[in-house]
C-alpha cells in the first residue's frame, strides 16, 4: 500500500456528506470511517442505514447529519430495503418516470446488523445480484445498547454479556469471518478496510461503487467506549490491528485475493491488547495461544492470495 502522507490529504474533496455535530462518542473510530466513506460517495447516492451506533448518532429526532438521501431501516433488513430501492430505480427509469442516470445505493450496518441479525437479508440480496454496496462498520460488539457480545466479538474479549471472571475467559468463541462468507456468495468485490489507512479505505469504497453488481466492504472501527481504551487511540489501535495480523487488509476481486499490506514480520499481539480494558484479564499463556491462531490464519490468507493469483494467471 502506498504511503501518501502529508500532501495528498489536501487534494481530497472538502465536501462533507456527513455533517459535523453528530453525537458520536469522543474518539470514535467508526464515525471517522463513515465520514471517509461518505467522502468517496457520489452525489447520486442513496444511503440505507440499519439500526446501530451510526444510525442513532446521526439521526436523533429532529436532526439528521446526512446531506444525502437517507433512510433508516431495522436491524435486520438494510440489505432488503437497499435491494428494493435498487429495483425501484431500475423500474422507474425503464418506464421513463425518472431520468436515466447512475444512482448508487449504499447500505450501512454495524457488526450486529450485518453479522448477526441482518445476515439473512444480506445473503439474499447478494444471491439475487442487486447492484448495491454494503458497508459493515465492525466495532466488535453491540456498543450503543451497552456493549453486548456479537458474533464479531473476538475471542477473550470481556463484554457485559460475556464477562471475564474466575470461570470465564470472556467471549468464548472465535470472531466470525464475515468477509469470507461474502466471498462465498461469488460477488464481484469484497474488501476489508480500516480508517487508520484513509486513502486505502476511500479507494476501496470508490471501487465498490463502480462495481457492477453487489459489493461488500468490512471496515474495522475502533470503539474507545466499548473496548475500554483511551479516547486518543482509535487510529493507533487500527494500525496495530493490521500490523499484528488481527485484521489483515485485503480485497477479493472476482474470487482473486490480494493483500493490500503484507507484514513481513507481525508485531507482538500484546502491543494491541495491552491498551484495551476488554483484554486486560488475559494472561501470557492465553495471549500466546490467541497469537498462534492469528498467525496461522494470517499465513492461510497469504496462501489463499498466492493460490488464487496463480489460478488467475493460468
Amino acid at each position: 500500500m502506498e504511503d501518501y502522507n502529508i500532501f495528498a490529504s489536501r487534494v481530497v474533496t472538502k465536501n462533507e456528506p456527513l455533517a459535523p455535530g453528530h453525537r458520536a462518542c469522543i474518539g470514535c473510530g467508526e464515525v471517522l470511517a463513515m465520514r471517509l466513506a461518505a467522502k468517496a460517495f457520489n452525489k447520486n447516492t442513496i444511503v440505507v442505514n440499519a439500526t446501530g451506533c451510526m444510525e442513532i448518532i446521526a439521526s436523533q429526532v429532529p436532526y439528521n447529519s446526512w446531506r444525502l438521501p437517507w433512510i433508516h431501516t431495522l436491524f435486520e433488513n438494510a440489505a432488503a430495503v437497499a435491494s428494493g430501492i435498487e429495483s425501484a430505480i431500475k423500474v422507474l427509469s425503464r418506464k421513463n418516470r425518472i431520468p436515466e442516470e447512475e444512482i448508487h445505493v449504499v447500505a450501512l450496518g454495524g457488526d450486529g446488523a450485518t453479522v448477526d441479525i441482518g445476515i439473512q437479508a444480506l445473503s439474499g440480496a447478494f444471491e439475487r445480484g442487486h447492484n448495491i454496496t454494503y458497508i459493515c462498520f465492525d466495532n466488535e460488539a453491540y456498543m450503543n445498547t451497552g456493549i453486548q457480545r456479537s458474533s464479531a466479538t473476538p475471542f477473550g474479549a470481556s463484554t457485559t454479556t460475556s464477562p471475564a471472571g474466575k470461570k470465564s475467559i470472556g467471549q468464548s468463541t472465535w470472531k466470525k469471518d464475515t468477509p469470507s462468507i461474502m466471498v462465498a456468495h461469488n460477488i464481484p468485490y469484497v474488501a476489508t478496510a480500516c480508517p487508520s489507512y484513509p486513502f486505502d479505505l476511500m479507494e476501496k469504497i470508490e471501487k465498490a461503487l463502480s462495481t457492477n453488481g453487489p459489493s461488500y466492504i468490512h471496515i474495522f472501527s475502533v470503539c474507545p467506549t466499548g473496548w475500554r481504551t483511551k479516547s486518543d487511540l482509535a487510529i493507533r489501535l487500527g494500525r496495530l490491528a493490521v500490523e499484528t495480523g488481527v485484521f489483515p487488509l485485503y480485497e477479493v476481486e472476482n474470487g482473486v485475493y490480494k493483500m493490500n499490506k503484507i507484514e513481513t514480520e507481525l508485531k507482538p499481539l500484546s502491543l494491541y491488547t495491552k491498551p484495551q480494558g476488554r483484554f486486560k484479564h488475559l494472561n501470557d499463556d492465553q495471549l500466546s495461544a490467541i497469537e498462534a491462531r492469528i498467525h496461522s490464519e494470517y499465513e492461510a490468507l497469504k496462501e489463499k492470495c498466492e493460490l488464487t493469483q496463480v489460478r488467475e494467471d493460468m
Binding site: D3, Y4, I6, A8, T13, K14
Partner: protein, 238 residues
C-alpha cells in the same frame, strides 16, 4: 448571484463559480477525468464538455474551466455534447485502454474502437503538475504540452528529482496510475512515465520502521521551523 439553467433546471449560482461547480452544487453530475475540485482546472481531458447556449448561439465548452454567466442555458447531455464527449473519451481510450478510470468511462459510453494514436500510460491531464506547484509548492514537475488540443505534439512531462521530496501527491492524483511510489527496505522508488528515482528513507528511532523519505523530512523542518528531535520518531511512536 447569477441565474442560469442546467438541463432545463433553473438554478442560481455565485459569480465566479465554474459550470461544473454550479452543477455539482445542484446534484447534477458531469463526468470528468482531469478535474479535481481542490486544484485549478486544466481543461485538458475534455470529458466534461457541455453545450452552452448564450444569446441564441450554441458552443461546446469544457465545464471545469468555464465560469457561469447570467442567462446561459447549459445542456450536459445534448446530442452535440454527447458526441464531443464520446470523441474525447475515445481519444483517451486509444491512448490508454488499461486504466480503470478510462475503462469505466468507455464502458459507460459504449466505446470499443480505438483511434490510430500513440499509446501511452500518461494522458497528459496535468493533475500532477498542478498538485506539485499548487499544493506541495515544490514545482518539480515540468510539463510542456498536454491535452487533447495538442495531440499532434509529443507529450512531455518531466520530474526534476533534485527538487522532488517524494511525497507521492502526484502519484495520488494521477488518474491512470502512470506515476507510482513503492517503499521497500528503506528506499522509496518513484516511477514516472520516463524516469525512475530512489530516495532513502528515515528510520524511526523507537520502533525502527522506515517512515518517510529524508528529503521530505528536511522540507517539513524547513516549513515548520521545528527542531530535529521532533522528526526522530514515526507517527506511532511520537
Amino acid at each position: 448571484m447569477v441565474k442560469l439553467t442546467i438541463d432545463g433546471k433553473a438554478i442560481e449560482s455565485k459569480e465566479g463559480k465554474t459550470i461544473i461547480q454550479a452543477a455539482s452544487d445542484n446534484n447534477i453530475v458531469i463526468p470528468t477525468l482531469c478535474y479535481n475540485e481542490e486544484l485549478t482546472p486544466t481543461g485538458s481531458c475534455r470529458v466534461c464538455v457541455v453545450e452552452v447556449i448564450a444569446d441564441g448561439v450554441s458552443t461546446l465548452v469544457s465545464s471545469c474551466d468555464t465560469p457561469v454567466k447570467e442567462g446561459i442555458e447549459v445542456y450536459t447531455n445534448s446530442e452535440n455534447a454527447i458526441k464531443a464527449r464520446k470523441y474525447a473519451i475515445q481519444m483517451l481510450y486509444s491512448q490508454n485502454s488499461e486504466a480503470p478510470a478510462i475503462r469505466a468511462l468507455a464502458g459507460k459510453y459504449n466505446i470499443t474502437e480505438k483511434l490510430p494514436v500513440e499509446e501511452s500510460e500518461c494522458i497528459g491531464c496535468g493533475r500532477c503538475y498542478k498538485v506539485c506547484s499548487e499544493v506541495v509548492e515544490r514545482k518539480c514537475i515540468d510539463m510542456s504540452v498536454g491535452g487533447l488540443s495538442n495531440m499532434n505534439e509529443k507529450l512531455s512531462v518531466k520530474w526534476n528529482f533534485d527538487n522532488c521530496i517524494a511525497c507521492g501527491a502526484c502519484a495520488y492524483v494521477c488518474p491512470t496510475h502512470a506515476v507510482s511510489i513503492h517503499d521497500e527496505d528503506g528506499v522509496r522508488t518513484m516511477i514516472t512515465p520516463n524516469a525512475k528515482h530512489e530516495f532513502s528513507m528515515k528510520k524511526c528511532s523507537d520502533c525502527g520502521k522506515y517512515y518517510a523519505p529524508n528529503v521530505q523530512i528536511e522540507w517539513m523542518k524547513e516549513k515548520t521551523g521545528l527542531s530535529d528531535d521532533k522528526f526522530d520518531r514515526c507517527m506511532d511512536c511520537r
